[in-house]
């Protein structure tokens, strides 16, 4: 018996496990982290599906996520298993057949809310619950290894983002900024969930930056509800922060409201802020900076740079030096932009007066959803282009004169979203200029992300439930498929036994596609039922 146990233990030790180095390499057959690689590229070197054969793409399977209504999760894939999350739940699916292997749900969670995905390390998959537990499950069985609380929902914090795992740390963010809370990024131990460091995105009273606030600083927002990116060479995390609270009523928080609507650079080991860059000082339009900070080494203004690229909700496309945080360039991401004339040499918006929300309502472009949002962008090193979902939309911004009360669903006013056209834009990081654009059909909702491949294909969605393949070089449509409902998630690509798949969550289900193959008639095995 002892011998058997030893044998089992050594077999277990030999089994494949996900290592930091595997994630570091970026996607191959597997897709191990939300954005594919640490740099946030959502790019795969897989080449079976190409611009030339994309017209042969066919659906391979659909997995209906139990009870799902509005999935926002981007799957990860390891060793033939696809993991998809929903609110307080995760499902492991055979990535070749779409059949469920296990599910885990926590019906006792004290909050509900969207969940954007999971992470993987060793033999564990990780997700967070809406009431701020980090959950580690055995990737093979879904058995709980630990659940560790990292924030208090009674202080307005909830959790929606996919954790980012770097080395032995699980990096988590915080959501809930539209109702008053104090945002943070925290590093938790992958081993047992204990907190290693926590960096707040709004300073405490008396700390540097607190002079940019008023009385409501304790509830200032600056949520971090999207994952971030990581530069292994600099050992630095890049994380974007949300809007200040109350969203539309700025009178109670005079000043720039640091470090909201910003990009912060954090040391992986300590969480210390190396630099910050604020895109929208004193935001009054709910323009979170939650859109990807994408790490690309490229030439900008004629000089090679370690850059971080960022398409912001405020309507501008930025390039910063990611070592120093120096502002390098900003160009217009959208055409309909009425609140600022441009960005000055230091990176501060040149605002047009009178654009704040008013009690009667003030017409401003872009709309409250912003010029882009959290959906996955893609950088393709072969085309040298960054693909961004953009929205040309304006809206009426109202300000409420009510006294702000935290955690009461009060955001200081409101905003309308009127009309709108979603356009997929391919941007040249060197110049900030558009290489091509692809207007999609739909109602101006804008929630489907992208993935691009070495096969020269960009996968994304129309704004009405069509999943589409575009030529990554030209933006020409190659293929489309009607999923029957809007997708509010980003696609990924992976391969099993040498066959490439492309998967995306619709509102309720995961769809997986691959190249057409003739049917393989079933030849059932000789089956015995043992009584």
């Amino acid at each position: 018996m002892r011998y058997c146990l030893l044998l089992l233990a050594s077999a277990a030790a030999l089994m494949a496990q996900v290592k930091h180095e595997d994630i570091l390499k970026g996607p191959r057959a597997d897709w191990l982290t939300y954005a594919g690689n640490f740099q946030g590229w959502r790019y795969s070197p897989l080449t079976q599906i190409t611009a030339a054969n994309a017209r042969m793409i066919a659906p391979k399977w659909v997995y209906r996520v139990p009870d799902a209504k509005r999935l926002a999760s981007s799957p990860i894939v390891y060793d033939g298993v696809l993991y998809i999350t929903d609110t307080n739940s995760i499902y492991a699916v055979d990535a070749r057949s779409g059949r469920q292997i296990w599910q885990w749900a926590d019906p006792r969670a004290k909050s509900q809310g969207v969940n954007r995905g999971s992470a993987i390390l060793g033999n564990r998959v990780y997700l967070t619950t809406a009431d701020n537990f980090l959950v580690a499950l055995d990737r093979r069985s879904g058995g709980v290894i630990f659940m560790k609380k990292f924030a208090d929902e009674k202080k307005g914090t909830t959790s929606t983002s996919a954790p980012l795992i770097v080395k032995d740390k699980v990096i988590v963010g915080s959501a809930g900024g539209d109702s008053g809370m104090r945002g943070f990024v925290a590093a938790l131990s992958a081993d047992d969930g204990h907190e290693i460091w926590r960096t707040y995105t709004v300073p405490a009273r008396g700390e540097p930056g607190s002079e940019s606030w008023g009385d409501l600083i304790e509830w200032g927002g600056g949520a971090t509800w999207l994952s971030g990116t990581y530069d292994p060479e600099l050992n630095t995390l890049f994380w974007t922060t949300g809007n200040p609270w109350p969203d539309f009523a700025g009178a109670t928080r005079k000043g720039d409201n640091l470090y909201t609507c910003s990009l912060v650079s954090l040391d992986l080991d300590t969480g210390k802020m190396k630099w910050h860059f604020q895109f929208t000082p004193h935001d009054t339009h709910d323009w979170d900076a939650q859109s990807w900070p994408i790490l690309v080494d490229t030439e900008i203004n004629g000089k090679p740079r370690k850059a971080v690229l960022h398409a912001n909700r405020n309507g501008f496309f930025y390039a910063l030096d990611r070592v120093t945080g120096e502002f390098l360039r900003a160009t217009k991401l959208i055409d309909n932009l009425t609140w600022a004339k441009g960005i000055d040499a230091k990176g501060r918006p040149i605002e047009i007066p009178g654009q704040d929300p008013t009690p009667e309502g003030n017409w401003v472009c872009p709309s409250v959803k912003g010029a882009t949002n959290w959906m996955g962008q893609s950088y393709n090193p072969l085309t040298g282009l960054l693909y961004v979902i953009t929205l040309e939309q304006c809206g009426r911004y109202n300000m409420s004169s009510q006294v702000p009360k935290p955690m009461s669903n009060f955001s200081g006013g409101g905003a309308t979203e009127e009309g709108g056209q979603v356009i997929i834009r391919a941007l040249d990081p060197k110049t900030g200029k558009r290489a091509w654009e692809y207007p999609v059909t739909g109602a101006g909702r804008m929630w489907t992300g992208t993935v691009s491949t070495a096969g020269g294909v960009l996968f994304t969605g129309d704004d009405d439930g069509h999943f589409v393949a575009l030529d990554a070089k030209t933006g020409k449509n190659l293929w489309h498929f009607n999923m029957g409902e809007l997708s509010t998630a980003s696609p990924i690509t992976y391969s099993v036994d040498g066959k490439q798949f492309v998967a995306i969550a619709s509102a309720t289900s995961v769809f997986s596609f691959g190249l057409f193959e003739p049917a393989d008639p079933a030849t059932p095995p000789i089956t015995t039922v043992v009584k």
Partner: protein
Amino acid sequence: MRAFFPTALLIAAIPLAAQHGRYLNESRHPSIGKPEAIAAGAKLFSASCTGCHGPDGSGGARGPNLVQRALWHPLADEAIFNAIRKGIPGTDMPPTNLTDDQTWNLVAFIHALTGPASEQTIPGDPSAGKQVYASSGCAGCHAIRGEGALLAPDLSNIGGSRPLPVIREAILEPSKDLFYLGSEAVSVTLKNGRKLEGTARNRSNYSLQLIDKAGNLHLLRMNDVKEMAIRATSPMPGDYAKRLSKDQLRDLLAYLAAQSTR
């Protein structure tokens, strides 16, 4: 055809469907979880309800099992309140003349009876139960917080997700109730001659998702499988009623009831 099941293969048939829990719409009524209300409700239950629903709520000739229902959908406390108050037309369940307080006491008792074991006061010694768990070989198939094997349902949250009577029955009569897909013991011979055995986490005419004793997942195409043997009953041993003393069972239940991830 030879079956490949070693006798030590222990897999419990605890319905996976039960993981949905029943408190999606948790009642905020103050009686719920209040010991005095539960005790008062227990008296009412034994006086008026046991005739049909049985002394432990497990059902009888005229009334259904309240603890373990075939479909484990969430049932709100308000729905139980209304069923007690108004009865269920077309069935033997009559309306009652209980006051609001009495009715809520009864709801509090039923809530406790059918709620997660971890939230109840359970007799027995959990640390002695841990020893029983270890000496009975449970970890040969089950895992708790990453310790143990992956063949059988994970027990890390067993107390947090199941009422005590359901756990008791799973130990004493593992094959009594519906046997759910996801816990089937299977053994297969592939067309290449390879033999595998373990638990079918899922299967169809086209694919099989099997986890073996070492914790390896095998994601197979059924076209690659030559022969398959499926066990019709739970591979969890059916003799724990004999193997465990009354005290051992009580302590084991106390240990399992304490397993909650929250």
